[in-house]
Symmetry: C2
Subunit: 279 residues, 2 copies
């Protein structure tokens, strides 16, 4: 991995790296915030942040204000991109924002033309950690979080990869992609018509099937325009309740889907993860 740029931030370093991904079959970028102690070589825990539709690694880096809290709690942030990238990578034929580039949905695609590049599940759960954690001063403890499509990604990866993450959180996650228009479109394209394959990428299904034992935190704004049609947080509350899996779900009055919402509560999420990463 090659350091492309870095900016000092809260006494640590905000960094951008480039690397070749064998899993995604293309060149990729990701961002890192390394607190001062990590810059000095001290081993720290890592929090992965998975972004939402249309985002790159830049949105969370510039808009969330998370560095302040990561510096305070001494947590390294690793912020991947949301899809494979490059001229060779297929995109939606109509350039839709919710399929193709910027919309990897954290699945391993099995259908052409997507299957040559769109393997974001393996990239996030395996390839990127193997690379980044061996180059950064990593102490062996990791957590994961994300927003919207990235909240979906964080939940499904944490639940499927039992024992790898000490905690998971999400802002406005797509908790039931197999049952809403965004997920039906993306899963249909990437995975085909087999709904059994879809279920393995659906948090409502996984919370019942896997009964995950790690702490789960979700924040959802009540003024989020996508709540009723795409997010349906109540389905996860119901599924987790039925499966007797504990989860904290905060409904935040009048907050929407934007980074103004994330910035307001990212400090709470960093504190939540710090409590588990540092215990």
């Amino acid at each position: 991995m090659d350091l492309v740029s870095q900016n000092k931030c809260f006494e640590g370093m905000q960094q951008r790296y480039a690397h070749r991904s064998a899993v995604l079959n293309c060149d990729m970028h990701f961002s890192v915030f390394a607190p001062a102690a990590a810059v000095a070589g001290q081993k720290l825990p890592v929090l992965y942040w998975l972004s939402g539709l249309t985002c790159t690694d830049d949105n969370f880096s510039t808009k969330a204000g998370a560095q302040r809290y990561a510096a305070e709690h001494e947590i390294i942030l690793i912020i991947p991109d949301t899809s494979p990238r490059g001229a060779d990578v297929p995109d939606d034929s109509e350039g839709a924002y919710d399929l193709g580039l910027g919309a990897g949905f954290y699945v391993n695609a099995t259908r052409a033309p997507w299957d040559r590049h769109y393997r974001m599940y393996d990239y996030i759960a395996r390839e990127l950690p193997e690379l980044a954690e061996s180059h950064l001063p990593f102490n062996g403890r990791r957590a994961i979080s994300g927003h919207s499509m990235g909240g979906h990604g964080a939940l499904i990866i944490a639940m499927r990869e039992a024992g790898r993450y000490v905690s998971v959180s999400a802002f406005a996650p797509i908790v039931n992609p197999a049952g809403v228009p965004w997920g039906e479109k993306a899963f249909g394209a990437y995975l085909g018509d087999d709904r059994n394959a879809w279920a393995e990428y659906d948090a409502c299904h996984l919370v019942a099937e896997r009964k995950p034992e790690l702490p789960i935190l979700i924040d959802q704004g009540t003024a989020d325009d996508f709540l009723a049609g795409q997010l349906l947080t109540e389905r996860f509350v119901e599924a987790a309740g039925r499966a007797k899996v504990p989860a904290t779900v905060n409904l935040r009055e009048a907050y929407d889907h934007s980074y103004y919402f994330i910035s307001s509560f990212i400090g709470d999420h960093l504190r939540f993860h710090a409590g588990h990463l540092n215990s």
Copy 2:
């Protein structure tokens, strides 16, 4: 002024307004952060934030993370655009980033074709406060801050408008525009060749001439690529020292010109202004 959009943020509201500017002879936008108490109608002090070259009111709103501190200290933020806007407004003929749109330099232009619209000094110091402060729950106390070109704007406006602002601060300000390439280009175009006119918009000149009595805080990164050629913070330190005007100037080791620098110290600046606005 018309509310264009708003997002709940740190229990307050991040808002964007549109209005007709008579001074600038065009339609303008500006952003506001209203802490929860202001949304409820309580009168609060105001901090103006002036942005730098190429920026709009959006950059500081989305990247600085200032809302957290403004909410904590109960200060309304007013964030103007950096130049007149619209199809009728002349721009640099070569589209340069440092002249014309996005580069108003907070002066009242006296030369054609700029003089019909580029009157950012009067807009920031008079027209916008008269409008915004009468519509927002304003308690009569105001401060001003900014970055780079906007740090220059904050310093010159606060020093010329004695008694109107209780405190002024700046990140990486252009302290001596009359003596560096950015300012020579802009002042030459907007004000013509009369260097006496330039001096009235130059912080190094004004600190000696006006001997301002308000508290002054400046933060400057030592890894800022513009420090040696455009910012030259040491000239202000020298001019203020010779004039016996107190100013706090913090040189921040290895920080650069970016919003990662601003976000790291904006909390200190809000605390500085709160100490004076609320005293």
